[in-house]
Symmetry: C2
Subunit: 774 residues, 2 copies
């Protein structure tokens, strides 16, 4: 039953998006589907059910394999095979995984291979790979070509360990700052999320030898990001205009322009209907309206949760039946609790309705198709001996290092920086660990996973020049005894770097119990956990030059006291080279170029504050569209929705001048052309992110955001150097959805071109656009 | 063209709701409509347009009439006539208003009378009437019969001043604690809001002599209450299941059971579509699905706002055309800015489309019909000489006093109270003013409008026993010099009452610039404004017995320091007898019986916390439905969505025992019967609110709240006395809406009976209900 790869390659054409041309949905080859169909016809009910589940964590934390448990689950859950805990080393995992996989191919009745489906956030999800910044950091680079290089590295490292399917990219638009998983996401703007998501999918799903998809991707979480109270797993309000314009936009782009192979349901219920049984959102919207042809999977526990947490199914089997009927085609099994798996409960439903049998056949077909597309039936398992020639190559590390540099945003600088301090007091609990996110295979305390800021500083300045004082612990503690030591150290050195933040580490991490960020978290308080603010205040009271370095996959409230710091950096969760990069940025060896992709709130209760709010959300100030976007939305205390540090904001050591912004419209091609000249008017090389926002001045139907990002490009310029930056925008990209239909009204539009979403950083250009039909 | 009132009275039958019987929509008489139609046929385009607007504030603050401005607006805005500023006295306003009205009847071409449409929150909206608690306070009484008496008083006072149409009841379900207008609303539970709204409409719209509606009512704001960020005027997410189950439920009840004559559009956009042009929500939902037959009006500035604030109409005329096409039938004009009125811009659209002409005819018809229904064509104007025999009658004041007593909730009492202190130090900026809400005709500093707590205490305890120390100002100030005086006063007296809060007063109030609550406000910080917390902390540090009395139309964060108070009362905005009532409650002359209708948050960022959250909103704790509703939803800091002081919570000086709760279902009548025995097991007379909540244990479709209120009744018992409390619930009342259709699944249900929405205050009873079809 083996087809020649040569037959397959011819049809494997990825549809890239051509600006200002209609998107043509090419006919995908159905050879893979034919092979899957042929296989399906030979399968028993039990074999079908078995494909839909799997074994999620092959190895225990100590790298042992629990054969008894594997054998217990195998008969009903044998479609996918996950690896071990994040701290298992690739060199331990891959040989064992290969043996299990090979036996499956050799000995199972139909020889259907396992597929390894795994998380892929900062890199591979077992130890031994290159550790990139998390997505929030990578997005802060606003550097898509660099991101593409990073994802290509991750892709090859995943393939080397036998991963053919990853649970990324996340397309959650994170306009709820309290949500704990923002660090895994790209940010609050749907266009930006779509661009990073598209780049991710196109890079990861590149066709390799034989035309096989190198690594299948999974858009997630359909749909999520703005849950009630920011609470993890909580419900979201629906409203189809909101869903389309705020949350589906990245999916629409990625489906149209990159055709990813799978999608994951979110834990949320949307307009009260749990997503895992939301037939409307899967069939009517995702399949019919958006044309998605890939596989739909659960999130871990998603079926169980409908019964046990939402009480919206009367049993686990009821939940499973509803899920597959809605369109779920594969269950992502939780790591260690087989009793929460829904698909195996369908085993005794073999005599169930014809609808169920049809649903299951469709699911198995979709799943097998991905196994064919990724070459599992046709290619051999990866050679464990070749791990060393793929993982952590020097060029890969260099890409990660460059990404860390660009993933950090400078939020304040009164002129203190750049500076190479004579002596420096490093202070704060984030000074001597690596904070990389809950899906990074990083032991935050172990130097093998990357340098802390303390180690990087010692390397750069010399051990004798750097003191480190933790000052206080990460979280709840009454012990402020270290604060006076920190004050003394700052006085002594005459220059302080205070490293604060919110800990987001893997469940395997020794500091796990002290974490306050990442999956499972929601932040009612967006300040610094524990006594960290008190520590910062005490150091700032000393009055020596102080740099604040904040860390965490979230926005923080920087209160007036914190703003006394001479300079402030947000490092998000910036991977193994975070420490080195911070040193380079402080000293000016590298000029900061990162920009926020989530706006920074002024107060924990003064949210939401995503920059692309609707005009009515500004409260009483109507000046937002024409003059200054600042308005007092919360009248007590007087706080704005257009915050001082919004999306797109970030500082540099040089200055850039934007000049001659123009916008023109070509009626024939429905193309809008935006031009601007960018000049580095400062003294050092720097990179600037040219950002283009727009809105129709008046909309005839629904409200449109005060402004919306439509293009960005990162440009590097030497001092005195100029460059014309040129954007071509298809009219459809200016559209928005009213009752699921794309519309773009004629009439006057404003485009804003500049360096952030702040009105004072933008140049407005008005243009009148003609009638247009989708 | 005068019809005999005798012809009209026969058809005037109000449909009251009969539990467990189908709601029959009676055929309304169309005599009024026939008369309106007949009049409409004689009207010119200009006369029609003129009817749709009006003159909102007849008198200036100094009680003068600006004839020039009136004459300027009159030709295009002559349908309704508002009165003066809140502080004009009724005795000044009514004679002038009568003259204008009589001239209109006598001299205008068609003799169409003005109608006075006005706010009616705590009472009449000019000075001289009885001042009741605002709606949040009245709802806290949970006492519908008492509320009915209060509204009957307000109704007669409104009629005495010539008001035939009020801009109440508000049906906003206020599950967003930051929203600044909560004080005007009934609270966070849709059932409770519906019950108060229904009682309001049935009482206000009672038929009087000649069968005329005494005072027409206006449900508002369709729909509103949960705006983005709690910000006034901001957008809301839609989702039809959310809208129906969370926000439309009160409207559905009130329309079905009380048939109010009008409804007001909200300022919000719902799912991005501005409500003032939301044809879907007006025609498809309100008219077709909900069967509303009354008039639809704007909120003040609502048309203007679509163009100037939402940028969702290209001109004021465009906005007006869209509004009338959506179904708007009358424009509520702003007080003083004629240029923001939309309807007059239609004057030059006489040659507009047939659709516009039809829309305008429908609007004028609906408006004239209300004028006929309320007897304006058939009854004489009120006699100003009779004001004294209607306003502020002793029996009216007694009802207001009783309402104030029941409108205050005791939230904490460690046993200190009841107590008549020997000497008392009254401390805090709310000790010597009346805080009654932004729509109350109350000068907060003027004793003619009611006693402050200070004056009430002096009356009760004797002047020599009571000291008053303001301690600090209401809002932003650095002046903490008064705090030491307060500390000294507390020490000296040995008993402190600290009165703190958030000021909500009329725009005419001398303290207006110090307000932090009411319309125009949204609270990013739910703590006490200014230095009030610091004042409280300092007094509590003294260690003398301390009673905290909080004031304001909002929930507050009571932090751990505040919780050190021996006793805590929330007085909301409880009208002119607030001070007297607080004294009676402290001393035990009256036993507290108010209950929260808005849950109290633990932290400003830990919201929303309405008690009827969805199961998934609880985060990871699944015990919510069966054991204890407390779960850590915000993992940092660890805070719950099921807060310690939720909806329905409030303490008493006696104890009540609930016993023998039973729930039974009668399949034939689709009736559910709930019985419980209530026993006053304490030493003093007290009133308890018996509360019944329920949920289907599993829902087959959408998520259902963890629990939902379905009945309440306030019962007064002497010590040792018992009473069986009996509820009959129609099955349809257990239903919820899925895609606009009512459903109530068969299967196991849990009912909870008890004294608050806290699990520990409830007795659970399970019952299995049969199939049911709407």
């Amino acid at each position: 039953m083996m087809y020649s790869p040569l037959l397959i390659v011819a049809a494997a054409i990825l549809q890239h998006f051509t600006p200002c041309a209609a998107v043509i949905n090419g006919t995908q080859t159905d050879l893979y589907r034919q092979r899957a169909q042929s296989l399906l016809e030979q399968m028993t009910w039990k074999e079908k059910i078995g494909q839909l589940g799997g074994y999620r964590r092959l190895l225990e934390a100590d790298a042992t394999f629990n054969r008894t448990r594997f054998d217990e689950l195998y008969p009903t859950q044998n479609g996918n095979l996950g690896y071990g805990s994040a701290f298992n080393w690739a060199s331990d995992v891959v040989p064992i995984a290969n043996r299990i996989k090979q036996r499956q191919i050799d000995e199972s009745r139909l020889h259907i291979p396992f597929v390894t489906v795994t998380d892929s956030n900062n890199g591979i999800y077992i130890s031994g790979g290159t550790i990139f910044p998390s997505n929030l950091g990578m997005a802060a680079s606003f550097n898509l070509p660099l991101f593409e290089q990073a994802i290509a590295v991750i892709r090859e490292e995943q393939r080397a360990i036998g991963v053919n399917w990853v649970l990324s990219p996340p397309l959650d638009v994170t306009s709820e700052p309290r949500y704990g998983r923002i660090g895994e996401d790209f940010g609050e703007d749907a266009y930006l999320v779509g661009e990073f998501g598209k780049t991710y999918v196109l890079t990861m799903e590149e066709k390799g030898e034989g035309g096989f998809v190198k690594v299948a991707t999974t858009m997630k979480h359909y749909v999520y990001g703005e849950t009630s109270g920011g609470v993890n797993l909580a419900s979201q309000y629906g409203g189809i205009n909101h869903i389309y314009n705020d949350q589906l936009r990245p999916y629409i782009k990625v489906i149209e322009e990159a055709k990813p192979l799978s999608i994951m349901a979110s834990y949320s219920s949307v307009d009260r209907l749990p997503m895992h049984k939301n037939r409307y959102m899967f069939q009517d919207i995702l399949r019919q309206k958006l044309g998605f042809e890939g596989l739909i999977m659960t999130d871990a526990n998603g079926i169980w949760q409908m019964h046990n947490q939402m009480y919206a199914a009367s049993s686990l089997q009821d939940a499973a039946v509803q899920a597959v009927h809605a369109g779920i085609e594969m269950e992502l099994c939780p790591p260690s609790e087989p009793t929460v798996c829904g698909m195996p409960t369908l085993l005794n439903a073999i005599n169930g309705s014809a609808v169920l049998q049809r649903d299951i056949d469709q699911a198995v077909l979709a799943f097998l198709e991905i196994k064919f597309r990724t070459g599992l039936f046709d290619q051999s398992l990866p050679d464990p001996q070749k791990l060393n020639s793929t993982l952590r190559l020097p060029q890969s590390l260099e890409i990660a290092r460059e990404m860390s540099r660009e993933a950090i945003a400078m939020l304040q600088n009164d002129g203190l920086l750049p500076k190479t301090p004579g002596r420096v007091a490093l202070i704060g609990p984030f000074g001597n660990i690596l904070n990389s996110g809950s899906y990074a295979a990083v032991n935050s305390s172990d130097a093998r996973y990357g340098d802390s800021l303390h180690r990087s500083m010692k390397n750069a300045f010399g051990s004798g020049k750097v003191s480190f004082t933790q000052g206080c612990d990460f979280i709840d503690t009454d012990d402020d005894s270290g604060i006076q030591d920190a004050v003394a150290a700052a006085k002594d050195a005459g220059f302080a770097v205070v490293a604060l933040g919110s800990l987001s580490v893997s469940p395997s991490d020794p500091l796990f119990l002290k974490r306050t960020d990442g999956e499972f978290f929601a932040h009612a308080d967006l300040g610094f956990p524990g006594l960290q603010q008190q520590l910062l205040d005490a150091v700032l009271d000393v009055g020596v030059p102080t740099v604040l370095v904040v860390s965490g996959g979230q926005p923080f409230v920087l209160n007036p006291s914190a703003m006394r710091a001479n300079a402030i950096f947000h490092t998000f969760l910036s991977g193994e080279f975070t420490g080195d990069a911070v040193v380079e940025l402080i000293t000016g060896k590298v000029n900061p170029s990162g920009k926020l992709t989530v706006s920074m709130p002024q107060y924990s209760g003064a949210i939401p504050i995503a920059y692309d709010l609707l005009p009515s959300d500004q409260g009483y100030d109507q000046a937002g569209l024409t003059a200054n976007n600042i308005s007092a939305a919360w009248q007590f205390p007087n706080l704005t929705r257009s915050v001082p540090m919004p999306f797109g904001y970030g500082l540099s050591y040089t200055t850039f001048k934007f000049s001659n912004p123009t916008v023109s419209s070509n009626n024939q091609t429905s193309c809008i052309t935006v031009n601007v000249s960018l000049n580095n008017t400062g003294d050092v090389f720097g990179k600037e992110v040219v950002q283009v926002y727009y809105r129709p001045i008046y909309t005839p139907d629904i409200e449109f955001p005060v402004k919306s990002l439509v293009r960005f490009e990162k440009v590097g310029l030497e001092p005195g150097q100029s460059q014309d930056v040129h954007f071509v925008i298809a009219r459809r990209e200016l559209g928005y959805w009213v009752n699921t239909e794309l519309t773009s009204p004629p009439g006057p539009y404003t485009f804003w071109i500049g360096s952030s979403s702040r009105v004072e950083d933008l140049h407005a250009v008005n243009v009148t656009l003609p009638m247009w039909t989708a």
